[in-house]
Assembly symmetry: none
Homo-oligomer: 222 residues x 4
DNA sequence: TATGAATGAGGCTTCATTCAT
DNA sequence: AATGAATGAAGCCTCATTCAT
């Protein structure tokens, strides 16, 4: 489930109004807006709808975020921040290269699957030619660690002779991302056209194993 | 370039009005609408904008397609039809399994890259939970051949001992699709976050080779 | 009374709707909008209020004028056009210079007084730093005749020895305008601070005579 | 330059917050508000904008002035007070009537030109039908001296035989005001329609001389 | 078959103002 | 005396769609 959903609503029912809690109001809006934008796209999302699902009023959206674009931009940043934050607890340093890469791949596969709203927002952003991503310095920085993490593993693997030496960490990241992303982004169309087999519990488990194997075979010495 | 663009306009300049050419009008609208939907999404596309870029009037859109949804549905079907039609001339039967699979993968990679509007429409459709794909019998049929084509290759490869026997044609199709699709769908966000390296001429050539190799290693006996 | 008011409403009651009469709808809106802008200023006027006083709907305002600014711009142009059109029937060529100038001045004085909405729009435009006037080629052209008319009279007066030769038509126009304009533009504040004496029937008649005399004395040989 | 601007800010830089200086806060707001109202009109001025340009907060505006109308009313009174105060140092008693009237006219011409914000506020007030002026006893009193000053000069001029006896001080005041006011109030529209000639340094000097001459010729015996 | 005119519903945003501290 | 947070009401504008010819 989206990690986004369950924060900020603990123990407060719909009718409760905020009393001077700026950060709470901001988060409340952000959480709701993330879901709405992810669900309906930028043009499809409705400020009225977002406001209605909030514990505050439409007016506050403008108070805190300026306009719809500003809200979307903040939602996008927040989405990246949350997803990247979720990756922090990954301790791969102790593992040998092959195990580390398998773990990272499987983790990414699961992580993407656990954050469909994030995936959808990235899709939406791509549809919009990255207009908002372009202007976010914050997001760019968040992604640098993704590469350096792989770089560490890859170097060790090359040194140990497990991995072939003619690849770049970027290319490996690309492969892991592509397979993990597509699994979520195209789930609907793929299953409609080719059946649900790959999206059952078992199907996903098998797919995850295959994806990991694909990556490992790809980087393997031979 | 999008194959969509250049059909249907041959021999008619911009200012010309249609006179008694229903099919021409329909195609004119369809071509324009495909670009607009692909460019702006379902909610983002504007009937007014589509009409303006057409050689006919807004009223005709309603005349031929009923409403915006109807137009989108027809655009989607047309997009699938065009893309699948482009795959027909692929003669893989004469090739040995490895060459056939490499050819198919590389072709898919290129084909997706040549049809960004199609990719975008599929993304959009996924964002909309496949609401329109669901209702299209036509599209489902179009995709069956994709699997059977792979099935032919895979069987021969297993028989020849080149491919391992524990896979399904569907899983192979999924891999080829994922890598080819992601290359186009996430180009904007990926290059914004990680640089343009993979999207230069050379970068794409390398990526294509890697993708083909990935698929071949994945199905290889060992 | 404002010449604006009585056109376009002849013989049609409030409930009547237009049936395919674009020019009628346009004029209806323009007439109402002119009054509203003149009465309340650009920011003060309300699109809703304008629409309500119209025989058509708010939507049509946007259909024909794009937005509030566009409507204001067209109102401004229309106001200038109407006022200048009202000046056309002035036949001064037959009169000797002194009589011609007196006639012109008195006419201008009356004309301004008869078009308070126009005066108010010009005031409003000045408050807005002429932002809309700047972009209207139409209006600039309309005003050229005003100067050339005076030029004709002045030349004849100089030739006849009635007028002194060291003036410019522009300066004369400025004086006539200033006195005629101020009479309307500052009527409210002036009468509030200094009493109504100048704004009674008799007061205005006297003022008009004085204004004409002022102008004549100003251009007189000695 | 507007006299309004530079008062009240002496010795305090932008970032400084007020601490226990009610009168300073009031003046700060008043100065900013005068510019905003003069620049944008009553409906056009924004409380938020005024607050932002102030060294204090929006809340204080309401604390000191009640509401937007109250602020505007106080701004208007302050504007009249400042302008009239600037006229006090005019010593005309010693001059002979013709010189006195010329001096007064030229002074008025300059004075209006030096206080464009005041002129604009008067225009705005006229557009609003003097709704606020009506309720200000203060302003009415301020203007009585303007008439009595002219009365003194005029009486002496009639007595000396320089001026004709059939005029009223009010009519003379009206003329001086009209010409001096129009020069500022309609500067934008006039120069847009008829060129900048009258608004250059030289143009204004000439205009001032002409205005003075106009007034003198107007009151002259013959 | 074709079209310009017309529209209701609903979208986004701004404004002056008040609340709670 | 001073402030940041909060707000209802109302403003402007856009959208897909239908009407009348």
């Amino acid at each position: 489930m989206d990690a986004v959903r369950d924060s900020a609503e603990a123990g407060a029912n719909r009718r409760t109004r905020w009393k001077q809690d700026p950060e709470g109001v901001r988060r409340d809006i952000l959480v709701v807006a993330m879901n709405e934008f992810a669900e309906n796209g930028l043009s499809g999302a409705r400020i009225d709808e977002i406001a209605a699902k909030t514990r505050t009023s439409k007016r506050m959206i403008y108070y805190y975020f300026g306009d719809k674009d500003g809200l979307y931009r903040d939602v996008l940043e927040e989405a990246y921040r949350q997803v990247r934050a979720g990756e922090e607890n990954l301790h791969l340093a102790d593992l040998e290269p092959v195990a580390a890469l398998r773990t990272l791949t499987e983790f990414t596969f699961d992580h993407h699957r656990d954050h469909p709203s994030f995936i959808r927002l990235v899709m939406i952003e791509n549809i919009h030619h990255g207009d908002y991503l372009k202007h976010s310095e914050v997001i760019r920085k968040l992604n640098e660690t993704a590469i350096s993490r792989i770089e560490g593993i890859y170097r060790k693997g090359v040194a140990s002779g497990d991995f072939r030496p003619d690849l770049t960490p970027l290319a490996i990241h690309w492969q892991i991302s592509a397979l993990s992303f597509f699994n979520v982004s195209n789930r609907v169309s793929f299953s409609l056209l080719f059946g649900q087999d790959l999206y059952t519990e078992a199907g996903q488990a098998g797919l995850k194993a295959q994806v990991a194997e694909t990556v490992l075979r790809f980087v393997a010495r031979r």
